[in-house]
């Protein structure tokens, strides 16, 4: 086995991913004027912008539209930012790769972990808004835990797979941009997937677009006090395992090719 394909023990990889993610957060906070405050401000500003456009310019949505939008936009922002940064992570760590034999899967996972820690702040804001808006029925909120874990797994899977593609061909970043745009319009962020009239089409969308199933899941749990749909959650899990498996295999199988692409 070539050195570039050597495995890192999980007991070594997990603390390394956590430490690197924490250090990245610290360094980012130190370089920005509003420091840690940005982790709360950024999702809020995005939601406010969308709310203004859809509620007041386009006259869309009902009473709970601001919360509805938050339930869609905050998980989407987590997904898009983590996947975008994860996809570029191998290129960003070119210097480190030129000096050490490190399994490449570590780099997208560090960025996903970093995004998870930031997301904890965004979710805290979400909970505050829910309670402030009279959503006190917390009986079903425990479902948010498996839902967050599922979303994290999906992010990790897609980021690992995309990091392989983006390292092989930088042009892929254009495809990622288009992919995110497509997801933004098809995941039910500012509209409700349950308003699709054709049940077969709705079912198909929730199965082939795991982000749509996740966003619908957040609304079910936090806004409508409903149970998660197990079938769609299993589809999300299947997507996560498949993308992670293919990405992990490709990063190992083509590790040397990818290193050469970085220095070509």
């Amino acid at each position: 086995m070539s050195d570039s394909k050597k495995r890192m023990r999980l007991s070594q990889a997990i603390p390394l991913i956590h430490v690197q993610a924490c250090m990245k957060l610290k360094s980012q906070a130190n370089t920005l004027v509003f420091s840690y405050l940005w982790w709360v401000l950024e999702p809020l500003l995005f939601v406010l912008l969308f709310y203004f456009v859809f509620k007041h310019v386009l006259n869309r949505g009902g009473d709970d539209y601001f919360l509805f939008l938050m339930m869609g936009k905050i998980p989407f922002l987590w997904f898009s930012k983590a996947v975008n940064s994860g996809a570029m992570s191998i290129q960003q760590n070119k210097g480190l790769i030129s000096q050490r034999v490190i399994p490449k899967v570590i780099f997208p996972l560090v960025n996903c972990q970093e995004a998870l820690y930031k997301q904890a702040f965004a979710f805290s804001i979400l909970i505050v808004f829910l309670v402030a808006n009279g959503h006190h029925d917390v009986l079903n909120w425990w479902q948010a835990i498996p839902l967050i874990i599922l979303q994290y797994l999906l992010i990790a899977g897609v980021a690992v797979l995309f990091s392989c593609f983006a390292t092989f061909a930088r042009d892929f970043t254009v495809v990622i941009g288009m992919f995110m745009m497509c997801l933004m319009f098809t995941s039910g962020i500012f509209w409700d997937v349950n308003t699709i009239q054709d049940p077969a089409l709705r079912d198909l969308l929730l199965m082939i677009n795991p982000l749509a199933a996740i966003i619908d899941g957040y609304r079910k749990v936090f806004m409508y006090q409903e149970l998660l749909n197990l079938k769609y959650m299993l589809c999300v899990l299947a997507w996560s395992i498949t993308t992670f498996g293919v990405g992990y295999w490709a990063l190992n199988r083509y590790s040397n090719t990818l290193t050469r692409r970085l220095f070509a």
């Binding site: 570039s4 390394l16 000096q99 050490r100 490190i102 220095f263």
Partner: protein
Amino acid sequence: MTLPIINVNNVTIEYTSRVGFFKRFKHKALDDVSFEVQPGEVFGILGGNGSGKSTLLKVLGGILHPDEGEILVKPGVSRALLSLGLGFNPELTGEDNAIISSMLNGYSKKQAQDLCKDIAEYSELGHFFYQPVKTYSSGMKSRLAFSTAVLTEVDVLLVDEVLSVGDKKFKQKAQETLSEKIKGHQTVVFVSHSEQQVRKLCDRSIWLKDGVLQAYGPTAEVISKYNNG
């Protein structure tokens, strides 16, 4: 005779880069290079700019895999490549970079934090050790890189030009540390432009020119051919 710790057999590395839509530029960074590194020796790599020295070090470090030929390394041998500040995240402090570097070499976070005290002291960076690396001069980066690599226990240390930067006092200290490490049976592969440093530190050497091995053997003989070539 002892078994070599690293055995390089007919290694060729070819880079291909695109220069137009259908045009590609190919060049051999290393062309059929063979030599052996013995345990506990300091092995020198001499050559001018673009001769393939740094590529060879990456191959020895397991970072690049040869297109042709093979690198045989004794099982369980750990290697660390030490070059100028490339592996550092400029936004992180010297301390944070040293912790990550040590953890990448297999240390736990606690062990890495303990080692950091020694790195801070050895590197003589003072309060700069706790500042982002982007505020460092190239000499300071070199000191941090050298201190981190030299204090982390590895079987083979691959040193790339790092002793060419930094103040005279630190260079002297670094050379002394390397000499001590060598006495303690540390294997070092040392790349340098400086004939003087190679002559002083290395038992055996190679001379590379345009990726091709020009000379291989005792350092004095290799330097003599290098000067005449």
